[in-house]
Amino acid sequence: MMLALLGVASVSHYLVVGAIMFCCGVVCMAVKRNALGVLMGIELVLNGANLNFVAFGSNYLAADGRSPLGLDGEVMALFVILLAAAEAAVALAITLNFYNNHATVDVDRADDLHG
């Protein structure tokens, strides 16, 4: 059975999950026309990155029980979460403002500066 063979997950496994989330986020940012969808893509990207930080910083996952990043990984993850929250708040405020002025959340229509 696959499960049994896996044992404790390795850093690589976490990296793969992080990579998948990251790529989904990138596609989301690229494809979505809804501003909120783009925002969600950003959240996904940040989370994918976060997963990497935690994986590298985890003693539990490290092969020799001593992670290369140590506590720094978690601290970075913490900052990323905080900044993502801040980013979401501002982006949402901008989106709502945009919605008020244009009655849409379609980012393709946000071309006021286009000239």
Binding site: A9, S10, L15, F22, V31, R33, Y60, A85, L96
Partner: protein, 231 residues
Amino acid sequence: MNQDAFDISLSLFALIDWHGFFFLLFAAIACIAALMVVLTDNVVRMALHLILSLGATAGLFFLAGAEFIGAMQLMIYVGGTLVLLVFGVMLTAQTQLVALRTPASDRVLAGILAAALLAVLVQAAFSIESWQKSGQGIVSAPTATPLGMALVGVRVDQSAEANLLDAKGGYLLPFEIVSVHLLVVLIGAAYLARAKRRRVPRPVDLMASVDSVEPNSSVDSPSTVLSGGSE
């Protein structure tokens, strides 16, 4: 019930490594939900899938021994940010905006690029030998307290107990910067989404107007006006 089959299933059950099992479970939820975020057009469903994905990520954090970060993820991300997001979704959820579609060609192009990116990343993930080895699973001390100390500038994990305060490499300055940043963002967001005109309170001064309908004392026997003459 065949005894052999029972034994086999029991032993298979015994083989399950719960850590691996939960890792697979959370990883699968996180990845599939993330994929669904991309594939769904309905913005409310997207938000739901994002919640699932981020919640499962919190589970992965717990599995990696980062309990504090996991709880943080649940509280700030899932609890706070996403409620905000759902708010935004609902405020702008008009039928024509719920499902905005992109041309198929764009989607395909983005898909190809993402697949290429994913391939590179996965290759990188497996490129280093030590990353591939399963962890020893050594449970180190809980990280919440050292993390908190690190944020106020004391790195307890890098120095001996004796000279705690000499330890360098704390995160006091970044912590302060982030705090100020958050404050700025808070004010900025409130400013951006503020109400431009507020409720105009209606001045209530009724006592003055009551006087105008005070009873006229000259009317002694109230009755119909006309009958007053005829009675």
